[in-house]
């Protein structure tokens, strides 16, 4: 999903490639780009499931306002992935309500 050779912008000047984990699986992205952009480039578009109705959500505003794209990053929930820069070795997890999938399943939450 990365744009190659844009007619106006040419090549994108992105940071070095770094490794991070998404739900435990290895993935790569560009250092400093928003976590959400790295995920989108890897075709991940579900960021979380809601607390009440357990419905999937992803990027919506992409500029840190709507808070729909929050995930568990380095163990901390409610991190706005569209404005949080990707760092080497980050752990990024789908957020279930406020929990990781493991925690949610342990609690018997309906997923």
């Amino acid at each position: 999903m990365r744009i190659k050779n844009h007619p106006i912008l040419g090549e994108f000047d992105k940071g070095r490639t770094v490794a991070f984990s998404y739900n435990g699986a290895p993935m790569t992205g560009c250092e400093g780009e928003p976590i959400a952009a790295a995920l989108r480039a890897n075709d991940v578009i579900i960021h979380r499931y809601t607390s009440k109705e357990h419905k999937p959500r992803g990027i919506f505003c992409a500029i840190g306002r709507c808070t729909d794209c929050v995930m568990i990053v380095n163990g901390k929930p409610n991190v706005r992935t569209c404005v949080t820069p990707l760092e080497e070795g980050m752990t990024v997890e789908t957020q279930y309500g406020l929990l990781t999938q493991e925690e949610a399943e342990a609690k018997g939450a309906v997923l």
Partner: protein
Amino acid sequence: MAETNDVIIIGGGVIGCSIAYYLTKKGIKPLVIEKREIGTGGSSRNGGGVRQSARDPRELPLAMHGVKNLWPGLSEELGSDVEYCQGGNLRMGKTEAHIKFLTAMVESQKKLGLELEMVDGDRVKEILPYASDSIIGASWCPTDGHGNPMLTTLAFYKKALEKGAEFIVGESVEDVIIRKGKVAGVRTDGGTYDAPLVINAAGVGARDIARKVGLDIPMQPRLVEVIVTDQQPVLFDQMLGTAGSDFYGHQSKHGSFVFGGMTGWEDREFYDHRQVTKSNTAPATCRAILDYFPWMERTNVVRAWSGILAVVADGVPVMGPAEELPGFYFASCFCGHGYGISPAVGEQMAELVAEGRSTLPLDAFRFDRFLPKN
């Protein structure tokens, strides 16, 4: 021509709505006049404590009566969840001075019939595993708890409405009408409403209302602030406080934490009568919270709001009839602890209005307590 009502209540906050509801239970359909929106003042700006411990002895019977007889069935009675949770109240201390202060409070309240005790640091950790290790003791009142003030106010409002009370919302009372030495109604910026009985439940506005009939209450507004965090997994159901009063609050049913706190100079802050937050309160509150409750490190603060306490000289509400003016009643000046006793106040005031006397004595709250003493 003005319409005629049995009772007019000035103020659509939790007190006004509660009185309105309990009046409808007695077959009286009051008219409530609210200047802004339902529950705009302190009713939607408080920590939600339903607390008996540390109450003034004059207020304690109302608080105990409410906790015993009214709060447990309130959601069911009103048909709306008010999120009442009887999780107990833990007032924590870190120093010997704190413990001394709390112990004195516990002893005096025990004598008044309230069941509460001093607990040590280990017991605190049992009750609240997330508490800091530096807490050496606490007062513990297991029958205290908390509710959701916004939902409680609206639940009273909705039920009162359903049972025939009427509300005028968006009109400001400009005058209380007196005819032949008695209260005859009120005039607002939108109309005139007759009633032989007017209850002043105007919260912070109560002093202005009383002055319209020549009665002045020694009351001052005081600005306080609360912070709210993002939603978190539900951890505990106690109402929390500290001996040093540096923060108080609870985790809501929704999962967000609602914590009030102070800088220590709130008494001096209310300068321009603007209900705004101050830049220095939230940091003080957050420091205090983390000091007692390090788990909160992972939370985000999503909003801070302020509310105005109607603080009266001797710290307890002004309630009951004004001898000086037949038909004029007070239900005012709750000094920041009105929410917890709001059902009891509504019930007792309704009795007083409907039957001329209340089950629980309200004499200690009479307006004339401020008159010069011999």
